[in-house]
Amino acid sequence: MRIRSITTLLCSGALLAGMSLTTSCNSGGSGSGSDTTNKSSDDNTLLGAGSTFVYPLFSKMFAEYNTQTQLKVNYQSIGSGGGILQLTNKTVDFGDSDAPLNDEQATKIGVPVLHIPMCSGAVAISYNLPDLKDTLKLTPVVLTQIFAGDIKTWNDKAIAAVNPGVKLPNLPIVVAHRSDGSGTTNIFTTYLMKVDSADWGKIGKGSAVNWPGSTIGGKGTEGVAGTIKQTPGAIGYIELAYAVQNKMAFAKLQNKSGNYITPSVASTTAAGNVTIPADSKVSLSNTEAADGYPISGFTWAIIYKEQNYNGRSLDRATKLVKLLWWNIHDGQKFAEPLTYAPLPANAVTVAEAILKSATYDGKPILQ
């Protein structure tokens, strides 16, 4: 009798596990709306990974796209470096990076990839000084010295000199930066390199650099923003949308023309008003425009030029290209409310041309 009861127990256990599996599969299917079979719901997903810079926008765009087309786009903000690596490993359908592939990455990936600009955004210098009423002003040199660890406290003379009349607290400066490979870091360090190579030269530019002194690293822009919000005296570089959405303070930065510019859609758009090369790889930082914000950049979705790899179906490739097409057209209207600058008309034209060059078995996917 004991034996039988045990057998029943084990059987019911297995049954329970099986049931929980099937029910959850069903709920997954019903969640996607019209799909009834598991197979079609499988085909109706795309996986992307990369930049945290663009994540708030992508999150909004893909939620909208899901309601329109039922396609589920799973975008994980793991950092630009991660996006490129995962694309190289072919574990995702598309990557997104705020820095174009460098030579080593291009060699490693082996085959041609396409960079499709998605929007441009500003890197805001956000800080946490609870008692400060005015908006902090910074010059490129002061900014560089802060991040290089040469300026250590908030009431340093150099900071006071560009902020006359502002009562700066006697707080140590806590530099917050990305702990993961990041296109935002690349945009930011490229800028510092351009404006003050004397102070920044030893550190260099890249997606992940060796930060001098005691600094705090945060995982993703989310992590950096979280750190700044948590730590009095902190300063860090984050995408503008994060700063605005979380009501964090950010500094006015002096641009090349000598004006102090608040990062905004208008000042980012002004900076993005440049001639776009055919491969769309262009740096926007330290802009010539008089009202342009100096630290901004494009973010690119990155896909393989030849979409027939790893046994991908034409259907999947088409879905991917259509999604990106939608992103650079209809999706652009979501950019401005989230403080990203939409692509200028000339950039859209370039992006269209790039998307059309995507092929499946050598044939263009979009006619």
């Binding site: 260099g204 530019k205 948590q230 005296g233």
Partner: protein
């Protein structure tokens, strides 16, 4: 006694039902008896009852079952070796590029492809040992409380359950709580003593770790304190020793090595802990230095891997991270093995 019952090679080989055997079966039949018992199985006379009562199906099932057991036991060894070999193979590029100086390289600079594990080794050791130092008085107190003073009763039941709960709470919850409760407290403390008020950092990580590792040393030490023969304690009492003297001069010396094993298990746990540490340590690759080195942000081996693994874009970078994993693997394995060896020697005595 058991050996004679466990497997009878002759009985099965000679049974007429199984005449056609696949190469695999044949090989297994030759190998299994040696794998299962290193003493040769005693030959049992083929009792008629055994062979005739079993249908061929039953024998096949029995065979299958025994084989499955052996294969699963083998699979464990393969799994463990697989983990080790995978880590080794994947860290070859970094080993080739950087050699042994990787271990004491002081900079971790992905831009210039310079990778040195020293900051993380130091960070790991600092957090783990600080955590151990903080937790040891508490875990031993719990062990003595439960093992000697109050082995039974509601209070000890309560405490025993509390210790188990500490082990049960997921590490990500410790990290979350640490980030929002402990870190502000540590930040206040830091501004109080004049250290830079990071809040997050090695000290915060150590505090969280200290709570997390208490159960490991505590429960093992409790078991061992219970194992102290009562005649030793009674002898001491009979000589007029006070309870304190019995604990200090009889129980602790007797369980000395076992307590060390408990501490080692705690250490093994602390070294490998990832999430809680990542959330509160500050993720900075700088080597902790200066007067307030304990309060500065740092990184442990596990937290670097968690932060950078999906982002490492170059071969050497990725491989350097995996080599960190390999080092972590080896260190924890050695520490755990020493701990377990001590325990088994202790319990066998």
């Amino acid at each position: 006694m058991m050996e004679s019952l466990s497997f009878n090679k002759e009985a099965i080989v000679s049974s007429p039902e199984i005449t056609r055997k696949s190469w695999l079966q044949r090989w297994l039949l030759r190998v299994i008896p040696y794998a299962m018992n290193n003493e040769k199985s005693a030959t049992v006379t083929k009792t008629k009852a055994k062979t005739t009562n079993r249908s061929s199906k039953q024998i096949r099932w029995e065979n299958f079952f025994r084989n499955a057991l052996v294969w699963i036991a083998v699979a464990m060894v393969v799994l463990m070796l697989g983990v080790f070999v995978t880590l080794c193979i994947q860290s070859i590029p970094s080993f080739k590029a950087l050699g042994l100086k990787y271990l004491w390289g002081r900079t971790w600079d992905p831009v210039n492809e310079v990778y040195g594990a020293w900051p993380f080794l130091i960070g790991t050791l600092l957090t783990s040992f600080t955590a151990l130092i903080i937790s040891i008085p508490f875990s031993f107190a719990v062990a003595i409380f439960l093992g000697e003073y109050y082995p039974n009763g509601w209070l000890s039941n309560f405490l025993r359950n509390a210790v188990e709960l500490i082990a049960a709470v997921p590490s990500v919850i410790y990290g979350f709580w640490g980030l929002f409760v402990l870190v502000p407290i540590v930040r206040k403390l830091e501004s109080g003593i004049g250290a830079p008020p990071f809040g997050v950092g090695i000290f915060s990580a150590s505090l969280v770790l200290a709570i997390m590792v208490i159960p490991y040393a505590a429960s093992l030490s409790r078991e061992l304190i219970r194992l102290v023969p009562s005649h030793l304690k009674e002898g001491a009492y009979a000589l007029g020793a006070t309870r304190y003297e019995v604990i200090m001069k009889v129980i602790l010396p007797y369980t000395k090595s076992g307590l060390l094993a408990g501490v080692l298990l705690s250490l093994g746990r602390a070294l490998g802990e990832t999430m809680a540490v990542t959330m509160v340590i500050g993720n900075s690759s700088a080597i902790p230095s200066g007067k307030f080195f304990l309060f500065g942000p740092g990184n442990t081996m596990a937290s670097v891997i968690a932060n950078e693994f999906t982002e490492a874009a170059t071969t050497t970078y990725l491989s350097a991270l995996i080599e960190l994993g390999l080092v972590l693997f080896l260190v924890t394995v050695v520490i755990n093995m020493i701990g377990k060896r001590i325990i088994s020697r202790f319990t066998n005595e």
